[in-house]
Structures are given as structure tokens and as C-alpha cells.
Symmetry: C2
Subunit: 226 residues, 2 copies
């Protein structure tokens, strides 16, 4: 049997992912971990401390690997910009690798991350965001260099879109067949799909859509109903 601390982290990870954070009580966690109720306060100082530890445990190595990958691609590219598919790969490969390594628990973890990401009012949201400070800066720099024709705001928007697709996939994957990361070859398909979609979206022509034209079309169609 493993450490009490580890058992608590594992139980919390599973329950937070399956039932949500607010809906999971310390009693649920300690029961599943076969630990005493007070153990959470003893080891982590409280529920927030436990949650912080839950995502810190996995997020730290994943994000470090992201930065190392980006470093490697950048030094390989020299003065030229890193290709978009490599940038996205550096962002996506580490979490996917964690899915391979950690099995179901890794999958659960990604659902927690997606959950916290979508809930900016959560008490530990600030601590969560701090894990991504360096990531955001570094990846935005790389993207801006690879997409010199876009202004900074548009780069950031499109970066957020690609993050959104990733979070959405990890959050919904277990419930939506086409996004599911099981079995393994299907996971490869999803991984590839995310990069393909992201690369194409990132380098979309920035004058490709005329909103007024679409609105005019809408008015024309609706004005003359069949």
C-alpha cells in the first residue's frame, strides 16, 4: 500500500475528475483513500491545498517538457521561425504522452485541468494560471515569429482557439466517441487531428471572411422567404 499522501492525491484526482471539484467532499476523498478525515488537513492544510497539490504533481513535469520541447525545436530552427506544426506538437505531445504513461488516471487529470480552466471563479484559479505563465509567453513568442503577417492580438486569439480545442478534447473525450483517446490508435488520430486543425487555423488568411457580406446575404435570404 502506498503513502497516505499519495493515496489522497490519487483519490482526489479520481473524484475531482468524475464528480467535479465542488461536488467532492473531503469525506468522499478520505473514504476512497482509506485515510482519516483529518489527514487532508494534516498533509495539505485543507481542501485547496490538496487541489493545488493534485494538479501541481502532474502539471509541473508536463509543462516543463513543453518548454524543453520548444527549446529543442527553436535551437534546431536557428534564426528562422519554428514551423507551426512543431510549435503545436510541443504543446500537445507532453499531455498526450502523459495519457500514454499514466493510463486512466492521466485521462482523469486532464479533465480536472479542463474543468479548472473553465471556471475562473475557482478559489485556486490563480495558482493554476501561474503554472502557465512561462508557457504562454514562450509559445506566443514562437507563434508571433512564425506568423509575422498577423498582429499580436490575432496571434493570441488563435493561440487561445488551439488551447480551447485541446481542453475541450481532454474534457469531453471520454464521453464523445470521435474525441475519445481510447484505444491507442484512435488517440493517435485525435492527436494528429488537433495539430492539423490548429496549423490550418493559425495560418488562416486574415481577410478571408467578410462579416458584412454574410450579414447582407442573411438579410437578402430572409427578406425574400420561399
Amino acid at each position: 500500500m502506498s503513502d497516505t499522501k499519495t493515496r489522497l492525491l490519487d483519490a482526489a484526482e479520481a473524484l475531482f475528475a468524475d464528480h467535479g471539484i465542488a461536488a467532492t467532499s473531503l469525506r468522499d476523498i478520505t473514504t476512497q483513500a482509506e485515510a482519516n478525515l483529518a489527514a487532508v488537513n494534516y498533509h495539505f492544510g485543507g481542501k485547496d491545498g490538496l487541489l493545488t497539490a493534485v494538479f501541481g504533481r502532474r502539471l509541473r513535469p508536463v509543462n516543463q517538457e513543453r518548454l524543453e520541447l520548444l527549446d529543442a525545436f527553436e535551437s534546431a530552427a536557428g534564426v528562422s521561425p519554428v514551423p507551426l506544426d512543431q510549435i503545436l506538437y510541443a504543446n500537445l505531445a507532453p499531455p498526450f504522452r502523459m495519457l500514454d504513461a499514466s493510463g486512466e488516471s492521466g485521462q482523469r487529470f486532464m479533465r480536472i485541468v479542463a474543468r479548472i480552466n473553465a471556471d475562473p471563479a475557482s478559489s485556486i484559479h490563480q495558482a493554476f494560471l501561474r503554472h502557465f505563465d512561462e508557457i504562454r509567453v514562450r509559445f506566443l513568442e514562437a507563434l508571433a515569429k512564425a506568423l509575422p503577417e498577423l498582429d499580436a492580438d490575432e496571434v493570441e486569439r488563435r493561440f487561445h482557439y488551439s488551447l480551447a480545442a485541446m481542453f475541450h478534447t481532454f474534457c469531453w473525450g471520454p464521453q464523445i466517441a470521435c474525441l475519445c483517446a481510447q484505444p491507442h490508435d484512435h488517440r493517435e488520430r485525435v492527436f494528429t487531428s488537433l495539430i492539423e486543425y490548429g496549423v490550418a487555423g493559425l495560418r488562416a488568411p486574415s481577410d478571408g471572411v467578410d462579416l458584412d457580406e454574410l450579414r447582407g446575404l442573411e438579410r437578402a435570404i430572409k427578406g425574400v422567404p420561399a
Copy 2:
């Protein structure tokens, strides 16, 4: 002063959006609405009923408008597929129009939707999803017709990616400058950006990325560190 029922809906909408659903108590809501605590149970049967009413009130007209727009574009296109930008426009214009019409409260509402969407364990998640049953089917059909070279799974994946970008934008918009829907001309930019990114992503070549090549590159770089 408006109806008690309406005041409760407005207060709940604001508080759910700002502080999260689980973190908002009925006492918070009834205090802000200047109503009695028991009024929630009297009018809505409970907290879940109130939440259901909150998103039903706005989601119904928005989703109906989506379907009407798609209907219009489809009958205008005749037998040919509806262009991708029109499909995305039909999906995005109604919520953006609601932002224009309802001001800040509309913005808040979209944050609730994004919140519920990211929390599949929520008690009212089933009722929430039912609002999108018809939407999902109809838009998937239209997309599959416009993207005949893609298999059904890939179409659905990419549809989800475009939804993810939308939800992410509505959820984070108020906090991230580049995604913010204020002021109005900036909102137009975000709207356009979502369509541009989505169109490009949807029609990405499905063999544009070679995962093994990227992995090989990673190994090569890492194997020979500078």
C-alpha cells in the same frame, strides 16, 4: 420593479456567471433579487429548476435562430453544400447578436453556458445538452455535406474544435483582452476571427501532419544536444 420570477432569473444569471454555480447560494440570489428565500422553491421548485430556467430562457431563442439561419442558407444553396463560412456564421451570429441585444447580462449568460459545458458532472447537464440535440445533428449534416472528403468522425471532431473556440471565447472573453467582446468594434474582430480560424481549420488537409515525422525530429534533436 419587475416580476419576482424575472428578478430571480436576472440575479441568478449574474451570480452564477460571476462566482460559479456551486459557489452561489440561494441566499445570495434572493438577497440580490430582493426576494424571499422561499421564493426560489415556490417559483422554480429548487436550485436546479432555477438554473434550468436561467439557461432555458436565453438558450431557446438563440438556438432557434441558429436553426432558422441554417435553414435559410440551406434553401439558398439548393442542392449544393452550404459554404463553410455560412455554416459557422449560422452558429455564431445568434449568440453574438444576443450580446449586442442584452448587453452585459448576455455576456454573463454565455459564461454560464461555457461553465456548464465544461462540467459534465453537473446535475442539470443532461437538460442542458438536450437544448443542443437538434443543433448538433443539423450542423453536422451541413458540415459533412460541405466536407465530403472527410470521414464522419473527423467532421465531428472539427465541429467540436470550432465549438470549443466559441465557448472558450465566451468564457474567457471578459478576462483576456484579445478575446474581449468590448467595445463593439472589437467584438466584430473577434467574431470575424472565430469564423476565419474555423473555416481554415475545417478545411485543413487531412494528411497535412505526419506525427511520426515530428516524433523522429524530436528524437533527432534531443539525441544530439547542443
